[in-house]
Symmetry: C2
Subunit: 499 residues, 2 copies
């Protein structure tokens, strides 16, 4: 850390000294700043965006979930006959994407303001601008049209998030070939919308545009969508989305994407199984083959670091760089699942490691709950069946269909053209009856999953869950029923599953 | 039990001998029959209705929840401006009550068929008819147009449910003055609908007709609605429903209800505070001042019993009559909350007490989760603040508004004219941080409550809940947040609640 004084002496715009500077104000950065300040540390936070909240609020979870919900309502209202059967006579609805987008922008700003207010209530100074390291304890904050200035901090939390991975031959121009950020702010509905990548982000955005009337195709290089899902769940999800109208090209690679004179995109695809290439046409292609840590702009080379130091050379107990323990990367810039939950947990751990007792314990993020927010939703937590087989853990399973659930039958009519019946599957350890994994397709997986996550993360047994009184009628009753069934069923494989 | 042989010898229609006969096939009877049969007992079940499922499926939970959901959708679609702002352009919708009712009837039958199929799969004989005791081990089953016949059983489970309590001066004619059963099968929408009784059944049906456009008034003799609710929650619920258009006449007694020549109902009301009487006009009055055990038709006097023997003289460990331990009342015919959950738990206990190990443990029904299925829903489980104060248990509370929840903000627009902001309140024991009570107003309380019920019934602490990873974004996150806040807050009273 020599050379620090040198730099300082030339800094005419030296502004302020903090205990903690947090770079990036997504869920990770926000949580870190709040925790630090509540622990009595003088804290500042910097973000380069106009609105706080990072990928989560600005171009990730909030826009995707909002548009999913709105587009689902629209699709539902198309099913006039089903709804009329249940009493409400409707006239055809129209969807106005521009109205939806302007409501969304407003909503994002409002949520950003919640962040802002909370930070201000907790005396966190918030800077707007792009942060770049000057030396290990000094960061320059640059803002267009303003003179850059320097902030000094004892600890620096790096919560700069992630960016879309690009693909050679498929240059994102954010006109015809777009990223998820752009897709979620499109103010029109493309007639043919093709998506490269069948992960959760790709699938959710596929659902939005499919609900709104686009012809949606998903191109996935693997033989199944959603690699980290239980196989049965992944295959049911694919069938479900196919029934809703989404086309899948699996085992297929995008080799090249080019617009022709008429403005149509011609995409050269390679089928990995048949080894044949062919051309697929569409109007818009979204690239969502994954995200990578975003360190661009941070000038980490100026302090002798490269990307690997942030991703791999980290002490996970304290979220500290091995080279500079006072620099703490958290959230999407680190290894592991790219989820807001993980960013928040790491933020708490990072601040606790500074030596002050944070107010909350951290949760076990080893098996975070996952949701695909289509309708019905797909949710899962804990071990998959494949994971248990691989770990040679003897297990029993119980699988229950929601079609026999009373609450399910009081809710809205369902599309009839689906061959997948929503279900919940519970996997328990045959030795001690602990709940190891829960996988479901369900209108409300998003909330049901919390119970499952409680069971998995607290090591609850099937006996425990049986003791819990569940509200009647509720979809949650099916969780208990699946647990009971898992107890009654013998050890897998060869397990007899009653439905 | 003398005289048994005598009777038998005269019974020419003696039909069958069972280990267990279950009278009534609502949730209690169904569960008892399934458990008994699965425990290897020769089991029969009798119900007098055309469709199985008791009050729960036929004229209770299912019709109320279905109509609540449908009428809520209808009300939502009236808010064209709010929905247009979020993208979907709508034309005015109409509600066709006859269509809704015929879909509902179909749905109820289908659910009844699920019961029927499950019973048949489990080799339970199902009789249709009204059961009456002939002697302690013999029951006559009578069906219109058929010769009655006799069933003998070692054990008899009485799960005959409950019936509406009538009020002097207010004779139910099921035309202008109706019960909840009739209200839930009305095929038109009365323009002025008045309800006597502000309990959950009254409030839910009030919401249905209010959503559909009736002018709804609730007359309640107490000074607050929903006696068993936390005061803060009850008062917020009342304000919420008022904002939706429901009028409340509290501290008010119905003295007389009479139809005049024009077909209008004139209801004489007494304000208990001002001691003044006045006349209130409406088109339909629903009486829902409570329900009482239904033993009519069972001819319990023939075996020397009266109603008190069923309600009070019961061993609650085994659900046995003190006078005849082989006769086991369960569900709404017994003391305690009239909830499907309780009926099911008692059913399991009753069958377990027969000496065979039932497949499942029973849950602790001391603090059952409760839901009022209006929109937003009201849910609560465990201690109220008043209950804690009375029990002199030191507690801390955390209260969080959903308006700052990310998931909440991605969901549908909300009616603006409400002055109540949905919230969740968690009460924890100051001594050991155990979760003692959870109270909420929330679109999805129905499912969120399951987590709360897990925490309360398993004796989980605030520290436990903090360890659980909750899906992001989800309404459930607010549960964890309220728990964290409760931990941070000091002991009540004088507790500082941050919002
Ligand atoms: C379409 C989509 C849907 C998603 N849905 C979900 C979901 O449902 N649930 C879930 O848990 N997760 C979801 N995610 C992932 C989630 O958004 C991320 O895991 C989460 O935002 C990571 O938080 P973070 O704090 O690490 O980074 P981010 O939220 O990405 O925040 C980083 C912030 O740092 C700023 N920044 C970067 N570099 C600098 C710099 N040099 N100077 C100043 N500021 C800088 C960025 O502008 C940004 O505001 C989704 C993501 C996407 C793209
Ligand atoms: C409008 C309304 C809404 C409700 N909502 C909910 C809710 O949301 N959640 C909840 O948990 N509970 C709810 N309840 C209460 C719930 O329905 C009851 O607690 C539950 O049905 C009780 O179950 P049971 O098995 O004891 O009796 P029941 O369900 O009432 O079943 C009794 C059966 O026995 C039959 N029977 C009676 N006498 C005889 C006889 N002599 N011979 C043959 N058959 C006979 C009856 O016809 C009936 O089918 C609601 C009730 C009402 C009225």
């Amino acid at each position: 850390m020599g050379g620090e004084d040198e730099i300082l002496s030339t800094m005419e715009d030296f502004a302020a000294v903090y205990d903690v500077l947090v770079i990036g104000c997504g869920p990770g950065g926000f949580t870190a700043a709040m925790q630090a300040s509540q622990a009595g540390l003088l804290t500042a936070c910097v973000d380069q965006r106009a609105s706080l909240g990072g990928a989560y609020l600005v171009d990730g979870a909030v826009p995707s979930k909002t548009l999913l919900y709105e587009s689902y309502l629209y699709r539902l209202l198309q099913q006039q006959e089903l709804i009329e059967q249940r009493g409400t006579r409707l006239f055809p609805a129209k969807f106005d994407m521009q109205a939806a987008q302007s409501a969304l922008k407003h909503n994002i700003e409002e949520l950003g303001n919640v962040y802002k207010r909370e930070l201000s209530k907790n005396n966190v100074t918030v800077y707007k601008g792009t942060a770049a390291f000057k030396d290990p304890h000094h960061v320059e904050i640059a803002q267009r049209g303003m003179k850059p200035f320097i902030v000094e901090a004892k600890y620096i939390v790096v919560a700069t998030g992630s960016a879309v991975i690009q693909c050679p031959g498929v240059a994102i121009d954010n006109d015809k070939i777009i990223s998820s950020d752009k897709a979620l702010s499109l103010d029109y509905i493309p007639s043919r919308f093709t998506i490269m990548g069948g992960g959760t982000i790709g699938l959710e955005i596929a659902c939005i545009f499919n609900n709104l009337g686009s012809r949606v195709t998903i191109v996935e290089s693997q033989s199944e969508i959603c690699q980290n899902m239980d196989n049965e769940l992944a295959s049911a999800t694919k069938t479900l989305l196919q029934c809703q109208g989404i086309a899948f090209l699996l085992d297929t690679r995008v080799q090249l994407a080019e617009a022709d004179a008429a403005g149509q995109l011609n995409i050269t695809l390679l089928n990995k199984v048949s080894k044949k290439t062919y051309v697929h046409h569409c109007d818009v292609l979204m690239v969502s083959i994954g995200r990578r840590p975003l360190l661009k702009g941070l000038d980490i080379s100026s302090i002798g670091l490269d990307e690997r130091d942030f991703v791999e050379n980290v002490d996970v107990q304290t979220q500290s760089l091995l080279k500079y323990p006072h620099i703490k990367p958290i959230g999407d810039v680190t290894l592991g699942p790219m989820l807001a939950l993980k960013a928040e947990e790491q933020a708490i751990r990072a601040i606790q490691s500074i030596g002050c007792t944070g107010s909350d314990g951290t949760s076990n993020c080893g098996f975070p709950p996952n949701v695909l927010y289509c309708q019905p939703q797909i949710g899962w937590v804990g071990y998959t069946e494949e994971g248990l087989a691989k770990a040679r853990i003897p297990y029993q399973k119980g699988r229950v269909l929601f079609s026999q659930n009373v609450r399910y039958n009081t809710l809205l009519p369902r599309e009839e053209n689906t061959t997948v019946s929503p279900f919940i599957k519970v996997l328990i350890d045959s030795r001690d009856m602990k709940i190891l994994g829960v996988h479901m397709i369900n209108d409300d997986a998003n909330e049901l999953l919390s119970q499952a996550s409680m069971a998995v993360s607290l090591g609850l047994t099937a006996h425990d869950v049986c003791k819990v009184p569940f509200p009647h009628p509720s979809l949650s009753e099916s969780f208990k029923q699946a647990v009971q069934l898992a107890m009654a069923n013998g050890t897998s494989p060869g397990v007899h599953v009653r439905e």
